[in-house]
Symmetry: C2
Subunit: 338 residues, 2 copies
Amino acid sequence: MEKPTFTPIETIGRKGLIDRIASSFDRHDEGLIFGIGDDAAVLDTNRQGHPLLSSEIYAEGVDFDLTYTPMQHLGFKVISMAVSDICAMNGKPEFILLNLSLTNKISVEMVELFYEGVKRACEHYGVQLAGGDLGAAQAAMNVSVMVYGAAKQPVYRSGASAGDAICVTGDLGAASCGLMILLREKLHFDTTEETVLDPDLTPFEYVVRRQLVPEARIDCIKSLESADILPTSMSDITKGLSATLNEMMTASGTGCKIFEAALPVSPETRHTADELEKDIDTFVLYGGEDTELVFTLPEEDVKKFSELFKDFVVIGKVEEKSHGVKMQTAEGHLMTLT
Amino acid sequence: MEKPTFTPIETIGRKGLIDRIASSFDRHDEGLIFGIGDDAAVLDTNRQGHPLLSSEIYAEGVDFDLTYTPMQHLGFKVISMAVSDICAMNGKPEFILLNLSLTNKISVEMVELFYEGVKRACEHYGVQLAGGDLGAAQAAMNVSVMVYGAAKQPVYRSGASAGDAICVTGDLGAASCGLMILLREKLHFDTTEETVLDPDLTPFEYVVRRQLVPEARIDCIKSLESADILPTSMSDITKGLSATLNEMMTASGTGCKIFEAALPVSPETRHTADELEKDIDTFVLYGGEDTELVFTLPEEDVKKFSELFKDFVVIGKVEEKSHGVKMQTAEGHLMTLT
């Protein structure tokens, strides 16, 4: 494997780097009067719906590890995670601000790869990079993402009612399962004489992809709009299903009962959990980083929505608060989710 | 000096810390339907003017040093810097998102002090904390601030015309001069046996305050609105006067001539520069971190504005592009500003 060129950022400077990044982004300028290059980005005045604001921070060595995370994937992922927060409010993302603190271990080429991933994600989700900041860091890279979106009718975590069906998009547990594989390979690498971390991850392609380049479920939000269906409550599952359900039920003043047998899990995730000799529930209930949506619908909307959107399942039902937040296991036992 | 209590963040956890912070902020809810506690903040739909978005990042050890920066001052400063970017567009700040990566050297009490400063700044500027993110960092703290504001009529760096007067608020060079004093005291501390960094900074109070707790010039923006005056171009001076003027003149397709003798410098800054045996221009032209505004006004507006707002001076005039970006020194020489 040829070693990539390493141009230190100091050779082109902060302004040189910003100019390179800005020039690689098309100026669609949809809804944007001025993007990168002044003291602030300026949006036009004719704006629809409720503005939504969200932000997330990622520290190298804690939230990502550059030994097994390609820069372009990191760029894609942080945009997906931000977009997922807007989807979780029944909104669509419009603008992104991106702040980076860069160490001297990061080259101009690595930053360009990062923004390639950012650009690909922006095009994928129809969102525009409107600004941000670049600075230096001593020991570890840091990424902050801010997203501006809009929702005609925001959906909160708090609107669920007893009797509503609890729905989940896609499948669960894959992202955290993929992380375990990457950590295992890194550990193996750290304890051998190999000089390049380049393991054969083909058998784990699905779970690793879900960890490194997750996709936000904007398709579900668009389908809800097309079907004219408003969930009673919604969140994304990036903190894990169990924690998310607890937050939603607390906010809604309700309890719930979900069924272990109904939880959507891909065969690849099951296979990987077996290979790791881990209980699949570890990933499915507590894993986190799944950019899927959990939402509640009145029973009559479930059928209507399923005619338009295929990639979701009902995993249980909202109950009265006194019921608690419970899961019925495959063996028929009721366990409390914490 | 009694040693302050140090409660490790892990004893109350991420959620415990977020709950503490959220509970200390009043819910004014002006224009805000939902703030901290869901996947995104939700603003109301009846919004005036052009939305403005800006963000900045601060890395410990690069942009701030906790050995001489009290946490409450850091909290105040990062909000001031964000607000300054919105003022620089002729806008008013409305909402802040704050992302922190925290190391295990940061206690719960230190985070609370930081947010005390944030709160004081939010009240001072009439801006609301609407959300953010908290995470861990291995080696250095990191702060990202995102600000949402609005401007009826945004002012860019690009609208200056030959003949316009160049105006500057307040005085220049103090923030960077204050930094030099703090760095000198830190160096002294590092090379002695003292165990607590607690120097007598009384003679340098003004410049140190301007470094640690700068104030954004929202008063100037409000006065411009009251006077019904729209600058032709504007920016803040956080990157230093010389760099800022170059950016504005390039964006405007103009040159300019400023007068060294007209540059506003406080007696305290002059005194400190003398004490440091440094040329005052180092701070005034290239210093940076001054949350002052530079703006251009047609000649007839200068007098009108000065009747309402006292804390600005004219430092020179916009010229044709061919003139370059020049300063006439006190001795009468013309020098190019780079």
